[in-house]
């Protein structure tokens, strides 16, 4: 009795009772925080479209199909950077995915207890290295090494007419599509590995034990129980990794060679959308040049957007 008589007055004094002013302010703050992101996104799309419109209007479909990008004669065809972006990102994903799965499975399933923690921390630290550092390492270490020990020997020993020879043709300076993909792969690897590990750790111990209890080997448990158990999460992480590779700028700019033509081989230099923008924006004096670069930005935005939509579709299908 005394309890309820004590709590009654304090109840009516509550600032945040439903319907009160405080509650309304709280709700509208949350609402505006959420709408702010939508407004920002719409603003970006609109301003990119307006800024890039002259280029789309002047070149039409050729903006996407032509690979002639010539600021001197004011002709802008973006096929080179677009293809370069897609190739480097997918190659990076292809290289990083098996490694990331390997690292995370090892950490969760096989790693001795005393090693698991340090390795996991090291992987997470790798994910935090700034991309400019990766770029410098790529330019000063990876590219010369790659040119000297891989590109030269291959060029010398393969006939330039053979299929393989064509795949590796290019100036042997180490700045090419493949090294850019390698750097990208190294960059997205730690992120993917550390999130994969977290995902694998969410598989209940009893489910693992049940699979082992049926007499499955570690490989069989990983393949048919653990990976399917977190499949949706894995797809999401892969797509986020791809998104990161698509937008990565500095490291790629350092090492891709920066030519706007369509790459003819893995060892050819090329460019990506992000690297082209980074290289040329300060020098874009003519209106058409800035419009073309802004249009490129919109294209990159759309590609990333499509990747995210694809991820949603893939994830949704499995639920």
């Amino acid at each position: 009795m005394s309890d309820s008589s004590l709590s009654q007055p304090s109840r009516s004094d509550r600032l945040f009772s439903s319907g009160s002013l405080g509650e309304m302010i709280f709700r509208s703050l949350c609402f505006s925080a959420a709408t702010l992101t939508l407004v920002a996104m719409a603003g970006i799309i609109v301003s990119l479209t307006i800024g890039g419109w002259p280029a789309f209007k002047a070149f039409g479909i050729n903006f996407f199909l032509s690979s002639e990008w010539n600021p001197v004669s004011e002709i802008y065809g973006a096929a080179g950077p677009i293809i370069g972006t897609l190739i480097t990102s997918f190659l990076a994903l292809l290289l990083a995915l098996p490694l990331a799965v390997g690292i995370s499975v090892f950490l969760v399933e096989f790693c001795p207890v005393i090693l698991a923690r340090p390795i996991a921390v090291a992987v997470e630290l790798l994910a935090g290295i700034p991309s400019i550092v990766y770029g410098m390492w790529g330019l000063f270490v990876l590219a010369p090494w790659f040119a000297h020990y891989i590109q030269f020997p291959l060029l010398m020993n393969l006939s330039s007419d053979s299929w393989l020879g064509k795949m590796v043709a290019g100036v042997p300076n180490g700045a090419n599509i493949l090294t850019a993909s390698l750097i990208l792969a190294i960059m997205i690897l730690p992120y993917m590995a550390s999130v994969f590990r977290e995902l694998f750790l969410t598989v209940p111990a009893q489910v693992r034990e049940a699979a082992y209890g049926l007499g499955a080997t570690p490989f069989e448990v990983v393949r048919s129980v653990i990976i399917p158990y977190v499949k949706r999460g894995l797809i999401g992480v892969i797509m986020l990794g791809l998104g990161r590779a698509l937008g990565e700028t500095m490291a790629v700019t350092f090492i891709i060679g920066n030519t706007h033509s369509l790459p003819h081989s893995l060892f050819d230099s090329g460019s990506t959308i992000a690297s082209t923008i980074a290289n040329e924006f300060t020098e874009a004096t003519s209106e058409m040049h800035s419009a073309a670069l802004t249009a490129l930005g919109l294209v990159l935005f759309m590609i990333t957007f499509l990747v995210l939509i694809l991820a949603r579709l893939l994830i949704g299908k499995r639920s």
């Binding site: 209940p204 489910v207 034990e209 049926l214």
Partner: protein, 290 residues
């Protein structure tokens, strides 16, 4: 051996094992350690063929630990180890390289007689069902067929037959026969648990270990599961850990009462529940602690 806080003073035990010639599985003088912490003390458990053996006791007494030794699931965790012998049809199955040296350290002079098969085959012969249902993220059919595909090279039709038979034996067939392609996760809790029983049965184990299989089930599902177990013991031996004393009394032939890592009393279920010999078993059964 160093003295542990879990050691029971004035250890009063009463063990009346079944006749030795009928044992399917037998644990002898097991000690168990989580790192340096000892949780089982010289525990023995005889499991008679085609009988249900129940393990009861208060939480933390080591029932589940004992069960996890019997099919060596504990070996997934490097810091856990068991010292002692587990015999499947008279052959040793605790035979990793440390076992013999640890037995010797303890002062046992034994010759191991190892069972000639690897750990995955041992686990296939000694199936296990866990406290929570653990269906794999695949269809009902694939859940049951999973172990079969691992261990046997069977044709499509043969696997169809095995899956149907296993689901029949687990009393689940009538409920799922029209939706074998649905995900195992779509079933209710009780159905999932029987699916796990069917999955274990499909590989034709000789022994089935159940770790509180009914603790997450409603009374109807529990009754169905118990019927299933009574039916199954015609073909195999069952060890069941349970918190439910009535369940142990209803379905088991032998019961072991454990307390603080010791096997306090082991005898036929009728005898244990009617005339418990030891003071601790008496107190537990009458609800004085638990």
């Amino acid at each position: 051996m160093t003295k542990n806080e879990n050691m029971v003073e004035d250890l009063e035990q009463f063990i009346a094992p079944p006749p030795t010639e009928n044992l399917n599985l037998e644990a002898r003088n097991l000690d168990f350690y989580y790192g340096t912490h000892q949780t089982l003390f010289n525990v023995s458990l005889p499991v008679e063929r085609n009988k249900i053996t129940a393990l009861i006791g208060p939480s933390g007494c080591g029932k589940s630990t004992l069960l996890r030794i019997l099919n060596r699931i504990y070996a997934l965790y490097p810091q856990q180890y068991a010292v002692g012998r587990v015999l499947l049809d008279g052959k040793d199955i605790l035979t990793d390289h440390n076992t013999l040296s640890r037995l010797k350290d303890r002062g046992d002079q034994v010759e191991l007689d190892p069972l000639d098969c690897d750990i995955s085959q041992i686990r296939a012969r000694i199936g296990m069902v866990f406290q929570k249902p653990t269906p794999f993220p695949m269809s009902i059919y694939d859940n049951v067929a999973y172990g079969v595909r691992l261990h046997f090279n069977k044709s499509r039709q043969e696997i169809d037959g095995i899956v149907e038979r296993a689901l029949h034996r687990a009393a689940l067939w009538d409920e799922v026969k029209d939706k074998l392609k649905d995900s195992g996760l779509s079933l209710s809790g009780g159905q999932q648990q029987r699916l796990c029983v069917a999955r274990g049965l499909a590989v034709e184990p000789e022994v089935l270990l159940l770790d509180e299989p009914a603790s997450a089930l409603d009374p109807v599902s529990t009754a169905r599961l118990e019927e299933t177990l009574m039916e199954l013991k015609k073909d195999l031996s069952i060890v069941i850990v349970t918190h439910n004393l009535q369940q142990a009394a209803r379905i088991s032939d032998y019961t072991g009462f454990m307390y603080l890592g010791n096997m306090i009393e082991f005898c036929s279920t009728d005898r244990l529940f009617a005339r418990p010999k030891t003071r601790r078993a008496r107190d537990y059964l009458t609800g004085r602690f638990g």
